[in-house]
Subunit: 408 residues, 2 copies
């Protein structure tokens, strides 16, 4: 098997931890696998470097090209140290920087997107019995400038490198993402004590469970895994037990109606009352939000009465004030109502496609607890409702029990 192991900053945060990572990689290789190691900067290092850059720039906004030059050194130090640690344990290893394995990206400094990776040198190193240690988070654009992929970009590096090796002929590729939790849970165990680790989950479900997954897996890396069909294994760096496999959808997954439940408290609600019910009004209202890069999640338009309608939508809480101001330039500010104290509760599962009645069951469970539903939105494999924020944890628990997610 070709195993790409990705370790985050905490896992390589000290010399001792780096030696642990090296030992694990070496054990994996000695078990008969080809091993590629992707590592982040030592925890705290990226922040230290960016703080230096900010300090030296004074009141000026630092140029992003140079920020990437500075920030990318964090991973460079780690790959060198990891290779040395493997060697000191008697193994063979070689480090590679983004530009050395041609992680070609666009030129969007500090948030670049990977366009292609040349696996030749990695494959060569593996062929020599070496562990290839590759700097995550970084790449190089067409002109040879250093780029970085943005926060959490090392997950994406890991999946992208696995994808490139798979595409160029490697069989049986797995991308292991090591974290400080055991895997992906049916819901947040801090909220619901009966939450259970999910053994296998489909890419689509993982994407929908963003708010659960984001803590253990960058969403961009899931998209990339889905697009390139790379199997991802999210697991703990503290023990050897299996974590959660994020994989292409499997037939058996349909038997499970609901896979997980997520609560999102980062949204807020905006209602515009008495909007003229005429063609083009929605476009007119939402254009300034789109132009300002504010992401609108759910939108509901009530039935019209007397040619006027109420329009409700949700935006991230951090953008609420801006959204309100923008709307106020188009409609009378007095017609705008906002509410920050909401929570979006979602039940997710590919089994919904073949099982009817999930929505109805969800509404019944919430109604039974007296939880009022303010908004509803559905997709093929997800049902989301907006409720009062104070009911968020209760809603998660009763849904988790109601759909029997605690049972293996």
């Amino acid at each position: 098997m070709l195993i790409v192991q990705k370790y985050g900053g905490t896992s390589v945060g000290s010399v001792e931890r780096i030696r642990n990572v090296a030992a694990r990689a070496l054990a994996t290789q000695r078990a008969g696998h080809d091993v590629v190691l992707i590592v982040s900067a030592m925890s705290g290092e990226t922040n230290r470097l960016l703080a230096l850059a900010k300090e030296v720039s004074g009141d000026t906004l630092p140029e992003q090209r140079e920020l990437d030059v500075v920030a990318s050194t964090g991973e460079q130090v780690t790959v060198g140290l990891c290779a040395l640690a493997i060697q000191s344990l008697g193994g063979k290893a070689i480090s590679f920087l983004g530009h050395q394995v041609r992680v070609l990206t666009d030129s969007a400094f500090t948030r670049a997107r990977i366009q292609s990776i040349d696996g030749t040198k990695i494959r060569e190193a593996l062929g020599q019995g070496r562990i290839a240690v590759i700097a995550g988070f970084q790449g190089q654009d067409e002109a040879g400038n250093i780029t970085t992929l943005g926060r959490g970009g090392s997950d994406t590096s890991g999946v992208a490198i696995a994808a490139a090796l798979q595409a160029s002929g490697s069989k049986d590729v797995v991308c292991e993402i090591y974290t400080d939790v055991d895997g992906v849970y049916t819901t947040d165990p801090n909220v619901c004590p009966t939450a259970r680790k999910i053994a296998r989950i489909s890419f689509e479900e993982m994407l929908e469970l963003a708010s659960l997954g984001a803590k253990v897996l960058q969403i961009r890396s899931v998209e990339m895994a889905m697009n390139h069909n790379v199997r991802v294994h999210v697991r703990s760096s503290f023990h050897d037990r299996e974590g959660t496999w994020v994989v292409p959808e499997e037939k058996s997954m349909e038997h499970v109606v609901v896979t997980g439940i997520a609560a999102d408290k980062n949204e807020s609600k905006v209602t515009v009352v008495g909007v003229p019910d005429e063609p083009g009004i929605a476009a007119k209202l939402f254009r300034p939000l789109g132009d300002s890069g504010i992401i609108v999640d759910m939108i509901i338009q009530n039935v019209s009465s007397e040619g006027r309608t109420d329009l409700t939508f949700t935006v991230p809480r951090t953008d609420l004030q801006r959204a309100r101001d923008l709307m106020g330039t188009i409609v009378d500010p007095k017609t705008i109502r906002t509410d920050e104290r909401i929570a979006k509760i979602s039940v997710v599962g590919v089994g919904m496609r073949s099982h009817a009645g999930v929505a109805q069951r969800m509404f019944e469970i919430l109604a039974h607890e007296g939880i009022n539903i303010q908004m509803i939105s559905t997709s093929e494999i997800k049902i989301s409702v907006v409720v009062d924020e104070k009911y968020a944890e209760l809603a998660v628990r009763v849904l988790h029990d109601g759909f029997e997610l605690g049972k293996a």
Copy 2:
């Protein structure tokens, strides 16, 4: 003019100092020059990185390829920060790493030699009115591995980049080496209060004055400057006064008989008594030293008496024990005498070529103070004598006064 400014680790050791360096580069540019900045790692940073590498390697000797990957990040951070500092002062700047301007070296990791530099990107940046900020100390070998040039390698980077730009057509190129001293002195001012800053010195003299120069200028960089005819200006980073110009030999330099006086206390003396005076004996004695990489400086063979001769030579003090042991495998150890308490005093000047009697004058001055001369060696522009270490400072002072070096 095209001015290459090289700053060492102390000059870029803090955010404040980096801003000073940026201000100076910008002032130079605004005075109408093209400016290329070569910078070292922030002081202490290279040591910190190498200590991490050593720690992670435990009892294993760290592989040099990976040491270079780790160590080269120090300069990478500095170039990014310098570029940002220049930008924050309203200037235009762009950073380049060794591999981005194709500082091609051999593959001797941790002590690589520069083979060629591609000035295209630097010239392009200058053409856009930018200050090019280039990482010193680092390069890339043919296979794309990161290399470093060894301690003090940034001086060499500075001269090499100036040489490359000069070779590819830039007129009027100067390489300014900024240090914490005012320039090169006629002798060590700590030893001799009348020591005077030298305004202009030839490459050859600078090389011979290694022990003076090494504190302000890496010897390899002087060799490179000489080979490529690059004018070097050694000057202080604390003020704007002229320092010392290290330049091709000029006619007027011949009028000065002695340019500087150096004392070297790092040598030790080995004498082998009663060596058979026969062909091939010297080769036999010195081969093991050469094979072990021990550099023999001066060699004296006394007049033979009764077919036997005494052979005396000097080696670095750090190699004395090893040299003694090696000689002991060839001759009877009882015939080996060693002395660590010696000093080599040298007077240097291109004027010696056209002025007779310098050696005689030197011996007279020393004799007048009762300083016994143990060994003598001469080159075209240098006379060195070995004396008892306790006379080193006295010898420097009387020679400095005797040759009137304190007079402008």
